[in-house]
């Protein structure tokens, strides 16, 4: 939609306004409006007002919404290369992760989306996902046996939990609180800020920091909107995204600290397990993955050897 001389970039995402990733997006908005002298405006729709992650990605392709922020896990159903980022224990630590994401490999994955009309702009830190359970503590992979763990509706996540011995149960996120409370599932897995903002910490006794995967969030712009921008505007958008990514990492770290404090004070027992035991179990997931996508094996190896 164009008003006199200004372009409005409609951006929809599914997170609440208190979320550190939303704060990162606000930085993007601020930086872009500043760089463009107000000629490029960003209108943000949080709380899934414009639809779920998958639905908004489609709207980017259709061309009615300009930009969005989704998890790389959702994106992998559109752009297969993002599957790589969901591989359990792919990154050694956060430094390794962002060295890869902000380096050539990460950028090339962002570019891959253009073929599917979804141009990646930058990665946001979404931390590491870990298990939380309502009744039974998970200290080793053996403890997962027989536990129904809610996962995202994503093959990699399902395979991962099953390979570790749990029983993966895909369930809508909105139904999860009641499902845990009533024992329809025994637990779920997520990063600390989501564990707390969803209030799942109120009904979970244990949080096992096995940090099995570090799927980042991705800020995307539809190529339908992107192609209409001038070269100068494209530079502004990319720069604003990069700046927001750096700011967001700080918001994220603050939020993790804050969330862990809230969880601890609420009486959640934080378990620090031997991660290598879980990593060992999940190796079959990588093998299965490279069997399905042999063309991605070199990238996986490249990341691991970096």
């Amino acid at each position: 939609k164009e008003e006199t001389g200004t372009k409005v970039l409609y951006l929809g995402h599914t997170l609440p306004q208190t979320h550190p990733v939303h704060k990162g997006i606000l930085e993007f908005q601020k930086a872009l409006e500043q760089k463009s002298n107000g000629t490029l405006k960003v209108k943000i729709f949080p709380d899934a007002q414009l639809g779920s992650e998958r639905e908004v990605l489609e709207l980017l392709q259709i061309g009615s919404v300009a930009a969005t922020k989704v998890s790389a896990a959702t994106l992998s159903n559109f752009v297969p290369e993002y599957h790589i980022l969901g591989i359990p224990y792919l990154f050694r630590d956060k430094d390794h992760q962002f060295e890869v994401l902000e380096g050539e490999i990460g950028k090339s994955i962002l570019q891959k989306g253009s073929k599917f009309w979804l141009r990646g702009l930058c990665y946001y830190d979404a931390g590491s996902r870990s298990f939380y359970t309502s009744q039974k503590a998970i200290r080793t992979p053996e403890d997962l046996k027989g536990l129904k763990i809610r996962v995202m509706n994503n093959q990699m996540a399902i395979n991962m939990v099953n390979s570790m011995g749990g029983s993966a149960t895909p369930l809508a996120y909105g139904e999860l609180y009641t499902a845990i409370q009533q024992g329809v599932v025994d637990g779920a897995e997520n990063n600390p800020p989501s564990f707390v903002s969803s209030n799942h910490y109120e009904i979970s006794k244990y949080y096992t920091l096995d940090q099995h995967s570090s799927v980042p969030d991705v800020l995307l712009i539809g190529t339908k909107f992107w192609d209409k921008l001038s070269e100068e505007e494209k530079v502004w958008v990319q720069e604003a995204a990069d700046e927001s990514a750096q700011a967001q990492k700080k918001f994220w770290n603050e939020s993790v600290e804050e969330s862990m404090k809230i969880a601890r004070e609420a009486g959640v027992e934080i378990i620090i397990p031997d991660k290598s035991l879980f990593a060992e179990k999940s190796k079959s997931v990588v093998e299965e993955f490279v069997k399905e996508f042999p063309e991605m094996e070199p990238i996986v190896n490249q990341i691991k050897n970096k």
Binding site: F45, L59, S64, Y173, E175, V184
Partner: protein
């Protein structure tokens, strides 16, 4: 005038014009949405977005409970379940002054509770009770009024499809399980309030009392109705105990109703394709309404309408009590000419943010909006329950209106109680920690 204001005017003017022209409601919503959206977005992306919202709007496992409860209700409607419930209700309350009116109310409550459909309750109970009540001197129009208003209790007492629709419209902030539990007390309160008014009429007009049933008679009728009533325990108990989700409970209800009606001999295997077809038709009516309503509510978000209305209400009224009252009034007016499902889908996203800002629980608001619209389906010009209820009583809609008015007043009074005393709705969900 800004483009937002113009597109809102286009939306509402075209919508109501189309409705009045007798364009089907689902299409009125779809066409109005299309006209308004095309003012904002380029043609092809705009049209494609509506097509996408219509499909993804119903892409939800939770919504599956709707066709399943419809099917379970249709299976039960065919058999002798209505009669068994009436006999059980009669053994309990027929000996009170105006006994048969109580029987009607209680049977409608039970049937509505089990089937989750006010229309099913009104037609199943009304068709049997109106004649029996006439024999004892009740005007048919009075029987119709009793039957129509008491059937709405089934929409509050779980299982209830409209509460599932509300859960969807609330964007997951209210769970189906919590809403189901929350509906019990308001539903029962509404039933009792209607009974209270009937007692007043019965005593002043001297309607006959029935014979008091002996305990063994009550026990006999209870046994006969037992398996029908057990369905309630299985469905709601299963959800609350965490044995299954609401959707899974609904399919269990189908299986249970099917087995029960086969066992009672009410249905044969070959009857099922007919029932499936009629339920599929009802499902398509409701779900297609949801399709276009979801497109419309997306347009609302896109244009920031909920935000605008919320800011307007909060700033101009600036008083919690006045805002609740205003919202209730708006909903009552909407309810007179709009059917329940689209009204819930369209107005929940608009009003929910306002009331939650003021500290109202989304579950509580769900009960308020549903009860409010329960009144709407009993009123002209558009009242599906009023039409069905008058139809089965074989009286004209205009004849029913006068005796119906005091009942509607009772409903409004109950609505006020439930709006301003959150505990009526929230006591049970809190008790069960939902």
């Amino acid at each position: 005038m800004s483009i937002e204001i113009i597109s809102i005017i286009v939306l509402f003017v075209s919508f109501f014009t189309l409705l009045l022209l007798k364009v089907p409601v689902a299409y009125s919503i779809g066409i109005a949405t299309t006209l308004s959206l095309l003012l904002n977005i380029d043609k092809l992306p705009g049209l494609t977005t509506i097509a996408q919202r219509m499909t993804t709007g119903i892409d939800s496992f939770a919504l599956l409970a709707i066709p399943f409860f419809i099917l379970a209700g249709d299976i039960m409607k065919r058999g002798g379940i209505a009669n068994r419930l009436i006999n059980f209700a009669k053994s309990l309350v027929a000996s009170l002054p105006g006994g048969l009116a109580y029987v009607n109310i209680l049977a409608s409550m039970l049937f509505g509770a089990i089937s989750g459909s006010a229309l099913a309750a009104a037609s199943a109970i009304g068709s049997i009770m109106t004649d029996r009540m006439e024999e004892e001197g009740y005007p048919r129009t009075l029987s119709a009024s009793v039957n129509i208003t008491s059937s709405t209790t089934g929409l509050l007492i779980p299982p209830s499809n409209i509460l599932i629709v509300y859960a969807l419209a609330s964007g997951g902030t209210a769970s189906v399980a919590a809403l189901f539990i929350a509906g019990y007390l308001p539903g029962i309160l509404l039933g009792f309030a209607i009974m209270g008014y009937v007692a007043f009429i019965a005593i002043s007009k001297g309607y006959a009392k029935g014979k008091r049933a002996t305990f063994s008679e009550i026990w006999m009728y209870f046994r006969k109705a037992f398996f029908s009533l057990l369905l309630l325990v299985i469905v709601v108990g299963g959800i609350v105990a965490g044995i299954f989700t609401a959707t899974e409970a609904s399919v269990i209800a189908v299986l249970y109703a099917a087995i029960l009606s086969l066992a009672y001999g009410d249905m044969k295997i070959k009857d099922f394709s007919g029932v499936l077809l009629s339920s599929a038709k009802t499902t398509a009516v409701v779900m297609f309404l949801i399709c276009t309503s979801m497109a419309m509510s997306w347009l609302f978000s896109f244009e920031g309408i909920p935000e605008m209305i919320s800011v307007f209400l909060l700033e101009s009224l600036n008083n919690k009590f006045a805002i609740f009252l205003a919202i209730n009034l708006i909903l009552l007016i909407i309810g007179t000419f709009m059917d329940m499902t689209p009204a819930v889908l369209i107005f929940t996203p608009i009003f929910l943010p306002v009331v939650t800002t003021l500290g109202m629980d989304p579950v509580h608001f769900g009960i308020v909006i549903v009860l409010n619209l329960c009144i709407g389906i009993c009123t002209p010009p558009v009242g599906t329950l009023l039409f069905v209820g008058s139809g089965v009583a074989k009286v004209s809609v205009t004849q029913v209106i006068k005796p119906l008015l005091p009942f509607l007043a009772i409903m409004v009074a109950v609505l006020m109680l439930i709006s301003f005393i959150p505990e009526i709705s929230m006591f049970l969900p809190r008790l069960f920690d939902l």
